[in-house]
Symmetry: C2
Subunit: 303 residues, 2 copies
Amino acid sequence: MASITCSGSIALDTTRTPFRTVEKVLGGAAAYFSMAASFFAPVHAVSVVGADFPEEYWKLLERSGIRMAGVQRKPGRTFHYDCSYSFDLYQRFANKTELNVLGEFEPVVPDGARGSEFVYLATMPPEKQLDVLRQVGGRKLAFMDTIEFYIRGSREALLKTMGEVDGVILNDAEARMLAEEPNLVKCGRKIAGLGPSITIIKKGEHGALLFSDDHVIPFPAFPLEELLDPNGAGDAFAGGFVGALAERSATSPRIADLKAAMAYANVMGSIAVEDFSVDRIVRASREEIGRRFSAYVELMRVH
Amino acid sequence: MASITCSGSIALDTTRTPFRTVEKVLGGAAAYFSMAASFFAPVHAVSVVGADFPEEYWKLLERSGIRMAGVQRKPGRTFHYDCSYSFDLYQRFANKTELNVLGEFEPVVPDGARGSEFVYLATMPPEKQLDVLRQVGGRKLAFMDTIEFYIRGSREALLKTMGEVDGVILNDAEARMLAEEPNLVKCGRKIAGLGPSITIIKKGEHGALLFSDDHVIPFPAFPLEELLDPNGAGDAFAGGFVGALAERSATSPRIADLKAAMAYANVMGSIAVEDFSVDRIVRASREEIGRRFSAYVELMRVH
């Protein structure tokens, strides 16, 4: 079976919602992505944690099947992200972003991860994303994410990395900033012009848009009555997407593969927000994911 | 074939966008709704215009097949709505709302419209919506819209009218205000508890949610690269929805009927915004609408 190498942050998150606050729980893009993707295919994580990283979380990641050989343990503290949500959970405010050991992280892709068919480069400085991509070597399909900080401050390096990947997965605000264009359909086409043949624009509760060749395909979010913690939803979404492609070894995905992967992406995003941290993802099973996938596909079927 | 009676405003709109301003063009909820619905079934309009209403617009409505016997011509000026859009067309600002002859409008449903199987009550004071509903008489399926002004100021009358219709079609801000709840899925369930068996929450560029029995079904908007004038999109959406139900005489619609009607609703909304006023709707044909419906259904099909 095809495997995935994912680089990015593993974090300790402090998340403050109107209903509950959790402190220093497992988080970070690579953690959410890997947890979600590991239902579908083996995942090699490339990341770094500090001496304060709880053994319990390390074991949880291992028990989820994630290959941890590429996760460095360094003296110092783990990346810490502290944020608050508005009363309706629709707006997030960053209180603290303490990079700690992530600040000097030099990714090293372990032998077992070299040659992974699928690569996901979660947000990092674009030079380091490119470094990971080159270390993996003969990969077949690579995706990347980024944030406004690098779009604003490292555009040149970012465009260079974007020129080397097959797809980008961004949220709507990032896409608008990158494309300098408010209309998201135009954004997607402009980003496609920068190199990637697959562009996904995530719209949170409103779903996502997929761009591939001349296709522009909207996907609604799976409707949820209860959401507890939106943190990591976008990374779990990406994990569902890349995971589903890896599961079917779709290294040259056809549009039908991409659409099914988008459905799995929405399923994993919807599962991620149903509890704090990765707790709900941990409680999921491939069978449950399959049932929610079928429900989602049936919802959207019009005769 | 089943017919539709639609009551509501016919307006002269002044619409200011960053690219172009049009003055006193044909607008109003009943105009957009009737134009969109008339591709599917005969529509009787119940409305009022002033002495300044251009003959050309009257003829345009007639040529579109709309039955105008219920449209009163009064001395005075036609309802005039003047608004501006933000540079990205995502935000609307009302400059002037001159009710004029609409202020004292007393709807009279003409003989030909009595007994219409389908009724659409566009925004009016809720007492007048109820009056129209009772005048139509033995209708089978009735839908209504409203605005924040009546949710805030006439809640009791509004709830009374809502108790008599089969469905409500609202936008997200209105639904949140009515249900006093930020989560739209919870909003839909709360509104269903107020009486209507069908609730539709429109989210503009993000599509819409359909609630019926225990179903909660999200529909993305048809993706558009060029939109010129968002005015009337929600009314054309409602026209596509009720029109499609009337076309198939679905007076007791099954979920498959409702889903197809939602797809037609998205199609008509997407057509409406592609030009100013009702110009693009006028240029559409049932064949073109059918093609866009098929494209929309195919977009959403996941295997």
